[in-house]
């Protein structure tokens, strides 16, 4: 029992997720239908994949806002290049663009030393420009059948994309827990100068994390394109980066860095997903749903603040 309370005191987001699911069931019993639950997971898998990348950056004490328009740019490239260089080439080029944006973010933040907010905001605007220029402000349909089939296909109750998400979570867990880079990320995010004192290359750590986030954001765009069978310049705009950051933080990772894990991002993304799902099965208007998401985020963060303050007080009494 003591172990359970300790587990819950660290993972405050789990009781919150369960609470929201109970409320959802009360509002509409069909929420608990297995089909619907798988649906929630499938619908949020791409957001989850991007939240993996964002988790690395947030654990390191930064955040990346360029995600929201980077994904519409890579979606456009993945669709638009298919007739010219084939689907594999198109996907590779799109991933490469994600990589390059990640490298630019990483170089400017880690090595030039510019504030991450400003850097990633600038990259967000830059990508937004290209996301409109490249497709000439038009939507582009994906011509490859295999590409669309991957986006919508299922293995068991889960989509391919969901399986990809699960694999991503496992890899991210391994990297964060069992590699030097993972632990260095926590150390650098928790106390950069202490990490530096311990001989950790803090700049390199930051750089790598921005690159991871760039690549996974780019992948997110490609997957959206595959799922929808098309790209549109407005994809992700205006708040996808915020929802992804919110997912990571709602799960329990500290926005200031150094604390959290990859499973928190899963729980956080699912909290957002469940809220959305209730709104849609109860036929709430979309803007009501947006409002509720905001309100719930504040409630969750206040609850988390109280729980962690209580923990800090208990720590002092030792």
């Amino acid at each position: 029992m003591k172990k359970v309370t300790k587990f819950l005191s660290v993972n405050t987001s789990i009781p919150i997720l369960i609470g929201i699911m109970i409320i959802a069931t009360i509002l509409d019993v069909s929420f608990m239908a297995p089909g619907n639950l798988f649906n929630v997971f499938n619908q949020n898998a791409i957001k989850g994949i991007m939240a993996i990348g964002m988790s690395f950056v947030i654990l390191n004490g930064f955040f990346d806002m360029s995600l929201c328009t980077l994904l519409s740019l890579t979606a456009a490239l993945a669709c638009g290049l298919q007739p010219k260089i084939g689907v594999a080439g198109a996907v590779l080029v799109a991933l490469l663009v994600g990589l390059i944006v990640g490298i630019i973010n990483g170089l400017l933040v880690a090595y030039v030393g510019i504030n991450a907010f400003v850097v990633t905001l600038a990259l967000m605007l830059g990508c937004r420009g290209f996301a409109y220029i490249y497709p000439d402000e038009q939507s582009i349909s994906a011509t490859s059948d295999a590409f669309r089939a991957f986006g919508t296909g299922k293995l068991g109750p889960l989509t391919y994309i969901s399986w990809l998400y699960i694999i991503g979570l496992l890899i991210a867990h391994y990297v964060l827990r069992y590699t030097s880079h993972g632990r260095n990320t926590y150390a650098a995010g928790g106390n950069a100068s202490a990490a530096e004192n311990a001989g950790i290359n803090v700049r390199k750590t930051i750089f790598i994390n921005f690159v991871i986030c760039g690549v996974l954001s780019g992948l997110g765009g490609i997957l959206y394109a595959a799922q929808n069978g098309a790209s549109t310049p407005a994809l992700g705009w205006p708040d996808m980066h915020m929802l992804v950051i919110a997912g990571v933080v709602l799960g329990g990772s500290k926005l200031s860095g150094g604390y959290g894990n990859i499973w928190y991002s899963l729980i956080g993304v699912m909290i957002l997903g469940v809220v959305n799902n209730i709104m849609s099965i109860t036929n709430a208007q979309p803007w009501v749903s947006t409002f509720c998401t905001g309100a719930i985020m504040i409630a969750v963060l206040i609850a988390d603040k109280f729980l962690s303050d209580a923990r800090a007080k208990a720590g002092l009494k030792n």
């Binding site: 926590y186 990490a195 004192n197 311990a198 800090a312 720590g315």
Partner: protein
Amino acid sequence: MADEYLLEMKDIVKTFPGVKALDGAGIKVRAGEVVALCGENGAGKSTLMKCLYGSYHADSGEIYFKGEKVNFKNPDEAKAAGVILIFQELSLITDLTVAENMFLGSQPKKGRSIDWKKMNADADKVLQDLNSTVKSTDYVRDLPISQQQMVEIARGIALGAKILILDEPTSSLTEREKNALFDIIRKLKKQGVGIIYISHKMDEIFDICDEAVVLRDGKLTGQFRIKDIVLDDLIQAMIGRHMDNYFTKCTAEPGREVLRVEGLTAHGYFRDITFSVREKEVVGFYGLVGAGRSEIMEAIFGVRHLDAGKIFIDGKEVKISSSVEAVKHGIGFVTENRKEQGLLLPKSCRENISLAKLPQIKKGLFVDDSKTNEIYDKYHDAMQISSPSSEQPIVYLSGGNQQKVVIGKWLAMDPKILILDEPTRGIDIGAKSEIHNMIAHLAEQGLAVIVISSEMPEIMGVSNRIYTMAQGRITGELGETEISEENLMRNIVITDSTQKA
């Protein structure tokens, strides 16, 4: 002869621009012994240790470690060789576990993966050797400060420490925690680790150390066997400096009492503080860093909560619960870290100097620029600020000129009482004496001035009267004729246990 010592530093000289920080300093440490490193604030203790640790590089001098001549280029090299410095401020990552902190940057691996089992086992072994109750899987954030310090020491051991440098390790510990630390130190001695123990607390030095090295003005005054000496010998060795006579003291006859406090107490910081300051008088507060001097002034200035006590200004009791009220009562406070608390660095001299006065000089919603120019002109001349123009951003001025701007800013408020906390920290010698002159001058014009300083010559040079403090209490009041290095030093090393003895 040299190989009898584990570590020997000889004739170390280190010059910083304008200051000779070390001038023939040294220390010798045998394996399994604890050597105290003592001296006043600024005697060169930290500089000497940083020269050993590779953070600084000595201009000349020799360091022998395990009989070989060494010169560590950076802290990493020193660590690799087994010289571990534990800073006064802990440098742990609180959201990681004890084991992770101990092996940060050098975790044991199985293939490419971190071997958590081995890491935790290795950490537990070190912790058990130290008789610690801390477990490898505990999170550092859940540990009290004393146990965090234990983790730092354990980290040093895990790295293979041969020489462990502890910088004021007991400053944040309770009596019981201190005893636990001493047990660890005794254990390490048995394991053959050489320990350098930097402390001001005489009782601790006599309790735990085998030898004591005394530095004065960057010079080695002597290395003593603790069992051969008494407290007075050590104090004598620490002081006895030749006093420079360039200080100008306020010579006016003090007037009426302006500020009086009775029984001020803030739990955990200071207790039962009673003192008074008169106009045309400079009152010094001398004590070690952490004695509670700044905290008292913050409480008087209304930015720190008081648990008990009364404050009287001009004989009337006042309640001050914010800095705004303090300013209304005519108190000015030049804080010790001007860059964080006193200045808007990118803003101009003019804007900074008129900052505190803004509420009085605004025209409607806006600031009246002509008034700020008037203020600037007046205090620029009075304070002899050398700045190319009134619009020069303050960040480009020297430390001395920045400090003059801060003082000018408070003078623009016409205070009755001016509190200066470490007024010349980080300021070159020339500007220092200008500020000292200014302090005397301000007092002669009728101000009641309180100066906090950790520098003995400064506090002796500017004060008409000095209160000494140790561990949150006033331990003595020295009138003009009683001010001497010996009295000051004796009063500030008094601790509860030495008093009983």
